[in-house]
């Protein structure tokens, strides 16, 4: 079924069919500890489910190592996730053969962080943009030439000025435009943007983000938009997924979630953004979330956030919270979400400790306490 057929079918039945449906995705990587001592498994993505609709942007935020890139790669099946369901335009990608996968990948394109690294340095811009067309056997030489010019125009690069250049003759933002022109060349339905503007300066970043928005409006594109910057993710997304240590902590409408985060981690993330009001000039001083993210090889029992969560109770260590819908379209995985007032929480039992396990005793402390404190 083509995207158009699918959409009209969906419209006729009155129900919206998602463009992409991901269910219970799991991706794990075996790792060997140094010296062959004790290996383990990195739980990079654990049981993640979400939908993306046509023309919609799903933003993904989370700390480094939380599994955002692994999730994106699981969607495009590079590599195939360990288990779960990925349905794209009605095709079950987990079961798809090579030919079906090639056709689906044409409809979902990736844009990566490093604009230089993703382009062959010896090719000219025109060749770089033409390549996906050639690869999928589209048109003849002259129709492709016209299409390349169209695409360069679309991404704001004057063909007469840029078509003959090579990547090293372009700025970072211009390289990223070339990468985007390549990504939209085959008229995909979905663009997976993994930190696609993170390496760009803020003025250039704004240009590229506006280009994404223009393409979304003109081509009805959907995006899976991954970034560290929560404020940026909010401004480009309809819905936002917050990841913590391989799991979804919260997923919901961008506006609603930022106005009222339900998960303590989302709230902590929001509090840690340094920001300045562009009108009054007032600054918001971040509040730091204490602690370090635990190891994805040995995640905490129960809720993976409990070692840093200010609301943690005993239950959080014993039972993993499931993702439940608390507000329309807004799901959270937390036993004591933030719309429950503090007073309603069960009292913390005396002596209960939810802190990370104590650090193993150090057999050889390097030195005695210093004689004097100079600092």
């Amino acid at each position: 079924m083509t995207a158009v057929e699918e959409r009209t079918a969906g419209d006729r039945s009155g129900a919206r069919t998602p463009l992409l449906r991901a269910r219970n995705l799991v991706q794990e990587f075996p790792v060997q500890a140094a010296g062959g001592v004790k290996g383990g498994v990195v739980h990079a993505v654990s049981d993640v489910s979400f939908d993306i609709y046509r023309g919609e942007t799903l933003g993904v935020v989370g700390e480094t190592g939380s599994g955002k890139s692994t999730l994106a790669r699981s969607v495009i099946q590079l590599p195939r996730p360990k288990s779960g369901v990925v349905e794209f335009q009605g095709t079950d990608l987990m079961k798809a053969g090579r030919k079906e996968l090639k056709e689906s990948r044409r409809q979902m394109q990736m844009v990566y962080q490093d604009p230089f690294g993703s382009l062959n340095p010896r090719w000219r811009v025109s060749e770089l943009v033409e390549e996906p067309l050639v690869g999928h056997g589209q048109g003849n030489a002259s129709s492709r030439k016209r299409r390349v010019e169209e695409l360069l125009d679309l991404v704001g690069l004057d063909p007469s000025q840029y078509a003959k250049r090579r990547p090293f003759e372009l700025s970072g933002g211009q390289c990223q435009r070339v990468a985007i022109a390549r990504a939209v060349a085959l008229e995909p339905a979905l663009i997976v943007a993994d930190e696609a503007v993170s390496s760009l300066d803020v003025l250039i970043q704004a240009q590229v983000l506006n280009l994404f928005e223009k393409l979304r409006r003109e081509l009805n594109l959907s995006y899976l938009f991954i970034a560290h910057d929560l404020a940026m993710v909010k401004q480009v997304s309809d819905r936002v997924a917050v990841m913590y240590l391989g799991q979804l902590a919260e997923i919901g409408p961008a506006e609603g979630m930022y106005r009222q985060p339900l998960h303590p981690y989302t709230s902590a993330l929001l509090d840690s953004i340094p920001r300045v009001d562009p009108v009054t000039g007032a600054a918001h001083r971040p509040v730091a979330l204490p602690g370090e993210p635990p190891s994805p090889i040995d995640p905490p029992s129960g809720c993976r956030f409990r070692t840093r969560c200010p609301r943690a109770q005993l239950k959080c260590a014993e039972e993993a919270p499931q993702l439940v819908e608390r507000l329309p379209g807004h799901q959270v995985a937390c036993h004591f979400p933030l719309d429950v007032v503090e007073a309603d929480l069960p009292p913390k039992p005396a002596g209960a400790t939810l802190a990370p396990p104590p650090v193993p005793a150090q057999p050889t402390a390097p030195a005695q306490p210093a004689p004097q404190q100079t600092l």
């Binding site: 404020a231 401004q235 600054a283 730091a288 650090v359 150090q362 005695q368």
Partner: protein, 370 residues
């Protein structure tokens, strides 16, 4: 910063000649004695740095001026390539000998640009220390972190090995490295990015610096870790009375922590004021453009960003006059002449002929758009 100075910094490109230039305006400078109370710790005036590469002159820093009071925090912000790192390396004496440096840098009354490499070495890591963006590359991967800090301590003190080790552990605790005693025996790769940055700060503190330069020290870190490290820097600044220069491209970060902010564009200081003054009343169109381009939590999903066209200029072929002119919506023919960097309002310096809100320039509505 001071509003005492009345003279504007030189507006025209002073010709940069070989080596260090004794400023003609030396009379304005403080005497070469230890800074007395109320005196700035660091005074940078009209700093210029030029590189030559393949016969091309690269004008990396083209007139940078600021002051830093003891124990205060100054942010230097600007886009990639605006000269933030080069200018800071210049005052640390860390540029290659081929770099042509002019202007004046006075630290505690001493002219840093006139110091011998030897004198500079004793200052580096001592009175002035620096922390960089990439702790993984600054640390020795084959050496336990404890040994690396101990080495730094011994370099700057007469402590014996044992005493230095004790001091190193103390420093790790000071920077709040979790489980400092255990981490002492670990290698850099066993630490998270945030923990490695804490170790770098501990090494920087080994010489009890009076000035710490943090060059994008939190850029590679997550927001949550960034907030922890910034909190640590502020705590150290206050507890140790240490002055901090934080180099960043993040306006929000600068606004949240620094007392004063310098905005750089194409190697020039273009706006400089106490943080509150600056962000309450941005005058330079470039700073204004930066503010409009940063994503903000209170903007609607799918709202467009205010766009500034073009690219930062080529430092080998700077445009005539104001470097921001090719991208500036306020630009007029007057801007073909370099605007002087002047204290227009009390404590508020900027370089612009048609500042935001002045009602002059091409698009006079610019200031009222928001």
């Amino acid at each position: 910063m001071s509003s005492k100075r009345t003279a504007a910094f030189p507006a025209e490109d002073a010709t940069v000649s070989e080596g260090v230039i004794v400023p003609e305006t030396a009379g304005r400078h403080r005497p070469a004695t230890a800074a007395s109370p109320g005196e700035p710790l660091l005074v940078v005036e009209d700093l210029r740095v030029q590189f030559t590469r393949g016969g091309r002159k690269i004008n990396a820093v083209n007139g940078l001026s600021y002051e830093l009071a003891p124990g205060s925090m100054l942010a230097i912000i600007g886009e990639s390539g605006s000269g933030k790192s080069v200018s800071s390396r210049a005052l640390m004496g860390l540029l290659p000998p081929t770099a042509k440096i002019s202007g004046s840098v006075r630290f505690d009354g001493r002219d840093l640009l006139g110091l011998s490499e030897r004198e500079m070495q004793s200052l580096r890591g001592g009175d002035i220390a620096m922390v960089f963006q990439d702790p993984a590359r600054s640390l020795n991967p084959t050496m336990k972190i404890g040994a690396q800090i101990t080495e730094a301590v011994r370099l700057h003190s007469d402590l014996d090995k044992k005493g230095a080790q004790a001091r190193a552990v103390e420093l790790l605790k000071l920077v709040r490295l979790p489980a400092a005693e255990r981490r002492f025996h670990e290698y850099p790769h066993q630490l998270s990015g945030g923990m490695r940055q804490r170790v770098m700060i501990a090494i920087a503190l080994a010489g009890e610096p009076r000035l710490l330069i943090a060059d994008e020290a939190t850029t590679a870190l997550d927001v949550t870790t960034q907030a922890q490290i910034m909190e640590l820097l502020v705590e150290l600044q206050q507890r140790l009375g240490m002055a901090v220069i934080m180099i960043s491209h993040d306006l929000g970060l600068a606004a949240s922590y620094a007392q004063d902010v310098v905005v750089m564009y194409a190697g020039r200081a273009v706006e400089y004021a106490p943080t509150k003054v600056l962000f309450a009343n941005v005058r330079m169109p470039y700073t204004h453009a930066l503010l409009g381009a940063i994503p903000a939590l209170d903007r609607e999903p799918h709202s467009l960003f205010e766009v500034t066209p073009g690219q930062p200029p080529d430092l080998s072929a700077l445009p005539k006059g104001c470097p921001f002119r090719p991208r500036c919506s306020n630009a007029t023919d007057q801007c073909l002449e370099m605007p002087p960097f002047t204290e227009h309002d009390p404590e508020h310096w900027f370089a612009c002929w048609h500042p935001v809100g002045s009602g002059t320039g091409k698009h006079t509505a610019n200031g009222e758009q928001r």
